[in-house]
Symmetry: C2
Subunit: 221 residues, 2 copies
């Protein structure tokens, strides 16, 4: 049985969960407190991070490398487009969200509000929260601009770029940090991806100490 | 003519330069002070980062997405291995260096010593330097451990993982932050990659205010 060592509110873990579910690859989810790493966990992943996907006896790490691997082994349904130009655009946006959005928004909001509490590292810094809340506006506007020209973020087909962005957005939505009134195209995009069967397990997540807001799992939010 | 907007001591720019050179794709290098972004530059890259590769009329950003694109358009010589498992391992190590190594080492040493000075952001923090100098030891040991089992970092063929790691190492070597006595296998690996024609332009870099150390361009260091 495949096994994914993860934490529920990690965008990198959620991206891998979404891709596994979309490709109908069954996996057992194992909560992993990676910030209290056991010798066992560090053997599985010397980087000491989640996600770690155990598949066919090997432990796979680094979410983007895992996603490319799953795409190669299970090409249907395709989550990378057909031309090099379109694949470039999908990968560019994966990096955009996992690097730029992650550093400017996810770290400042999610890690301050949730990870610090769970890891016992004190209270959120209000300066970070303010920065994150400010920066996310620009990102939503940028996505809105992309979605004016395309059905999905990277083009006319749904790709790993959409799952990467939706993984970050779903974590932030759990802590009520997305202003869904800012851009109608972004809200429509999220409603579309949220209603996919692959999203169900993520909408069912309940994080102790953080109550799921009523709109979070509502497909008609 | 292809054009690469870059800064000389950026590991992400150097990775792209190495891949372009290895694939014999000609490119004009343009120094870009991305920390003083012009409206022109932001139009080319809304993320405000380097590298930006202008190719066939489009501006490509995000170093890893660029590398995958170059690999697809110019598959010879191959810088990704032949099997999904080996490609996974190459990509995993790209992420290892561009994420973990970058955060633990490159930021603490290179950005403190060089970027801060160039950008007029004051003096290096000694705590960061100390952390970087401590962390790099573990990374060199990890690479040494990989290289005991393999000719190159990701397996028996040279891949984008080697170029990614060498891009970080060459920047740190310029500022004398690599202890070449720590691990003989790592030194041998670097000597091998440094002697490739693709490396020449990088060894010729001269950064104003930072004198090139004598061993930096020496193939027999």
């Amino acid at each position: 049985m495949n096994r994914l060592y993860h934490v529920p509110l990690s965008p990198f873990c959620r991206k891998v969960r979404l891709v596994l579910a979309e490709k109908k690859i069954e996996v057992e989810l194992v909560d992993e407190k990676y910030w209290e790493p056991s010798a066992d966990f560090l053997r599985r992943n010397p980087a000491g991070k989640v996600p770690v996907l155990k598949m066919g006896g090997t432990h796979l790490t680094e979410s983007h490398a895992i996603v490319e691997y799953l795409e190669e082994l299970h090409p249907t349904p395709a989550l990378l487009p057909g031309t090099p130009q379109d694949r470039f655009e999908a990968r560019r946006l994966v990096m955009w969200f996992d690097d730029k959005f992650h550093n400017e928004v996810t770290k400042n909001l999610l890690y301050e509000r949730v990870n610090k509490k769970i890891m016992g590292q004190g209270y959120p810094e209000s300066r970070a929260i303010k920065t994150g809340a400010q920066k996310i506006k620009y990102h939503i506007d940028y996505m809105g601009w992309l979605l004016e020209q395309r059905r999905w973020l990277a083009g006319d087909a749904m790709t790993i770029a959409d799952f990467t962005a939706a993984a970050h957005f779903s974590c932030l939505d759990y802590i009520r940090d997305i202003d869904w009134n800012r851009n109608a195209a972004v809200k429509d995009w999220y409603a579309k991806i949220k209603s996919r069967p692959a999203f169900r397990s993520i909408l069912a997540d309940q994080i102790p100490g953080f109550i799921q807001p009523p709109h979070y799992a509502d497909l008609d939010f």
